[in-house]
C-alpha cells in the first residue's frame, strides 16, 4: 500500500507567546511537527508494518521545515517531498490545499493522509479541500484505520458516536491524535533518517497560477484573550471546604 502523509511544521503551542501591537511574537526556534500529523504518520507506519508498502511524507514549508521532515523520516517514513514555500507569503488552508492537489494530481497512491487540523490554528479545512479538489472519497476526524481489500475502513469520531466508514482506494483521510501515540524516534531511526531521500521541489514547478494561491482569509492582528481571573482556592478539612464551596455556588455564583 502506498501512503502519502501531509505534514506541516507549526509553532509549539507550549512556547511562550507575546503580543506587541497586534503582532504575535514567538520563539521562532520552537517549531514542531503538527501533533495530528504525527498521528497520521504513526498510523501509516502501523498499516505498512502489517501489510507492506511505502509511506511518503509531503511538506510545504520554508527551508527550515526540513527538520520537521527529518522527524517523520526518523519515525520510519520511507521518503519525503519538500515543497519549498516562501516564508514571507501568507498562505491559508485553501492555498495549501491547492498546492497539495496540484502535487498529487499525477501521483499514484492508495491513501492520502492528513492531520485533522493544525494545532496552532485549529482550522481543520485542508483535508476535505484536497479530497474535493482531487475528487477522492474521504473521511475526517479518524480515530482508527484498518486496511481492507482495496479499501480503507475508517473509524471516525462523529458528533454523538463513532462511524465506521469504508472508503475505496484511492481515498483521503484526516487523522485525530486520539488514533494512537506517535512513536518517539530512537537513535537508529534518527541515523537512518539522514540517509533517506528528500526530494525538494519549488511551488512554481507545479504549474499553479500565483494569483490562485493568494490567501482569501488573513489574520489582521492578534489580541490577548480576556483572561479569566483565577478565583479563590479552598484548602482544609475536606468536609468543610466541600460544603463551603457548594454554599458559595448557590449564594455567590448563583450557579446551582
Amino acid at each position: 500500500m502506498k501512503f502519502y502523509v501531509c505534514i506541516k511544521m507549526v509553532p509549539d503551542v507550549y512556547a511562550p507567546i507575546q503580543i506587541k501591537e497586534g503582532e504575535l511574537i514567538m520563539d521562532g526556534d520552537r517549531m514542531v511537527l503538527n501533533a495530528y500529523d504525527a498521528s497520521a504518520v504513526e498510523e501509516a507506519l502501523v498499516v505498512k508494518e502489517k501489510h507492506g508498502g511505502e509511506v511518503e511524507v509531503v511538506c510545504i514549508g520554508p527551508a527550515k521545515a526540513s527538520e520537521t521532515i527529518r522527524k517523520a523520516l526518523a519515525m520510519g517514513a520511507d521518503k519525503a517531498t519538500h515543497i519549498l514555500a516562501d516564508s514571507e507569503k501568507e498562505y491559508d488552508s485553501a492555498s495549501y490545499s491547492k498546492v497539495l492537489a496540484a502535487f498529487f494530481s499525477d501521483k499514484e497512491y492508495d491513501v492520502l493522509s492528513l492531520g485533522k487540523q493544525s494545532q496552532d490554528t485549529d482550522s481543520g479545512l485542508t483535508g476535505s479541500m484536497v479530497a474535493e479538489r482531487l475528487g477522492l472519497p474521504y473521511a475526517t476526524n479518524a480515530v482508527g484505520l484498518e486496511a481492507g481489500n482495496g479499501s480503507l475502513i475508517v473509524k471516525r469520531q462523529g458528533d454523538t458516536g463513532q462511524e465506521m466508514i469504508e472508503l475505496p482506494f484511492p481515498c483521503a483521510v484526516t487523522c485525530s491524535n486520539d488514533m494512537n501515540d506517535p512513536r518517539i524516534p530512537n537513535l537508529k531511526g534518527i541515523m537512518a533518517s539522514k540517509r533517506k531521500p528528500i526530494d525538494q521541489i519549488d511551488i512554481s514547478s507545479l504549474g499553479i497560477n500565483e494569483a490562485e494561491l493568494v490567501a482569501k482569509t488573513t489574520v489582521i492582528g492578534y489580541e490577548e484573550k480576556p483572561a479569566r481571573q483565577a478565583g479563590k482556592k479552598y484548602e482544609g478539612e475536606p468536609e468543610e471546604v466541600a460544603r463551603e464551596v457548594a454554599q458559595l455556588l448557590d449564594t455567590e455564583a448563583n450557579a446551582l
Binding site: 496552532d120 458516536g161 462511524e163 486520539d178 479569566r228 466541600a242 464551596v245
Partner: protein
C-alpha cells in the same frame, strides 16, 4: 441587497441549539445591513423541523428531505449544500461548528470557490466579506481574521450567541434532491453510538468533567451522582477517553468538544492547555484537585484543593440539601 444563509443542523432527531444561535446572530446582522436571512434544513425528516425554526426570523427555509440523510455522510450533505448554495448565492453561509460541519466545510468551500473561516467565536459583516475572532494557539490567544470574498462560509463555536426570537413566517421551499448509490462514494458500515440518552455537551447548562484523578468505579459513580443532581452532562479529559474509561464522544478540549456551560466542574483534571482550550468559555468553573499547583486552578473561579474521593461525598450531599 444580499442574502445570509444559515444551516440548521439536526442531531439525534433534534435541532441543534447552536445552529439557532447562529441563525439568531445572522438575523441581527442581516437586519442591520438590510440583507435577507434564509435557512436550510437537510435531514431525512427535514420538514418536521420547519416549525421549530420559524420563530427565529428567516424569510425562507430551504428544505432538503431524503432518506440518504438518516445518518451523517459527507458526499450527500456536500451535494445538497452545494445545490442550495448555488441557488441562493449567499454573501455569507453560516454554520454551527459540529463534527458533521467540520467534515464538509473545506470541501464545500473548495467546491463553491468560496472563502471559509472555521470555528469562530464571533463574526461581523465587513465591506470585503466577513471579519471574525477566533481562538488560536490552543485557545491561548485570539486572532482577528478577515475572509475576503463575495461568498464567505463561516462556522461558529457553540455558545457564542444567545437565542433571539424574531417572528417571521418563512416561505418553505422544498429542494429537489436525489442521489444514486454510486455517487455516495463511501459506505457507512456501522455506527457505534454513545449511550443514547446522554446530554449533548455542546448544549449542556452544566458539565461535570472527569480526569485521571478518577481511578475506579467508585470515582465514576461519584461523578455520575454529582452530574445527576445537577442535571449535568458528563465530560472527560483525554486521559480518560483514551483509556476507555469514558466514551470518546465525551472528550472536551482541542481535539474533543468545545463547551460553554453555565457551570463546569473539573474533577481530577490537571488543566493541560489542550483541555482548557475546550472549556474556558464556561461561565463558572469549579476545580477539584489534590495538587495545589495544578494549572486548572488558574482558570477556576472556585478551586477545591483535596482528594476528590473525600471532597465529592460531602459536596454532593450539600448540593442535594440546597436543591431540596
Amino acid at each position: 441587497m444580499s442574502t445570509i444563509l444559515t444551516y440548521i443542523a439536526i442531531t439525534d432527531g433534534k435541532i441543534k441549539r447552536s445552529s439557532l444561535e447562529v441563525l439568531s446572530h445572522c438575523k441581527k446582522i442581516g437586519d442591520a445591513a438590510g440583507h435577507t436571512v434564509e435557512a436550510v434544513l437537510i435531514d431525512a425528516n427535514a420538514s418536521s423541523f420547519v416549525e421549530g425554526i420559524q420563530k427565529y426570523g428567516a424569510s425562507k427555509i430551504h428544505v432538503v428531505e431524503d432518506p440518504v440523510f438518516t445518518n451523517h455522510m459527507n458526499t450527500p450533505l456536500l451535494k445538497a449544500l452545494a445545490k442550495v448554495m448555488e441557488k441562493v448565492n449567499p454573501a455569507v453561509f453560516a454554520f454551527a461548528s459540529t463534527e458533521s460541519t467540520k467534515d464538509i466545510l473545506g470541501a464545500l468551500a473548495a467546491n463553491q470557490d468560496a472563502a471559509v473561516i472555521a470555528d469562530v467565536s464571533s463574526f461581523e459583516l465587513s465591506p470585503n466579506g466577513v471579519k471574525a475572532k477566533r481562538p488560536v494557539m490552543a485557545a491561548k490567544i485570539m486572532a482577528n481574521a478577515e475572509a475576503i470574498s463575495d461568498r464567505v462560509i463561516v462556522s461558529v463555536r457553540s455558545g457564542s450567541y444567545d437565542l433571539n426570537e424574531s417572528p417571521a413566517s418563512a416561505e418553505v421551499i422544498s429542494v429537489d434532491f436525489s442521489m444514486d448509490e454510486n455517487e455516495v462514494k463511501a459506505t457507512l458500515k456501522e455506527i457505534i453510538s454513545a449511550t443514547g440518552d446522554t446530554v449533548d455537551l455542546n448544549e449542556a447548562e452544566a458539565i461535570v468533567a472527569a480526569g485521571r484523578g478518577i481511578k475506579d468505579d467508585e470515582g465514576k459513580a461519584l461523578v455520575a451522582e454529582l452530574a445527576s443532581i445537577l442535571n449535568a452532562g458528563i465530560g472527560a479529559s483525554r486521559a480518560l477517553t483514551e483509556s476507555g474509561v469514558y466514551d470518546p464522544s465525551l472528550q472536551i478540549g482541542q481535539t474533543g468538544k468545545v463547551v460553554s456551560p453555565q457551570l463546569y466542574i473539573a474533577v481530577g483534571i490537571s488543566g493541560a492547555i489542550q483541555h482548557v482550550a475546550g472549556m474556558t468559555n464556561s461561565k463558572v468553573i469549579v476545580a477539584i484537585n489534590k495538587d495545589p499547583d495544578a494549572p486548572i486552578f488558574e482558570v477556576a473561579d472556585y478551586g477545591i484543593v483535596g482528594d476528590l474521593y473525600k471532597i465529592l461525598p460531602p459536596f454532593i450531599e450539600e448540593i442535594k440539601k440546597i436543591k431540596s
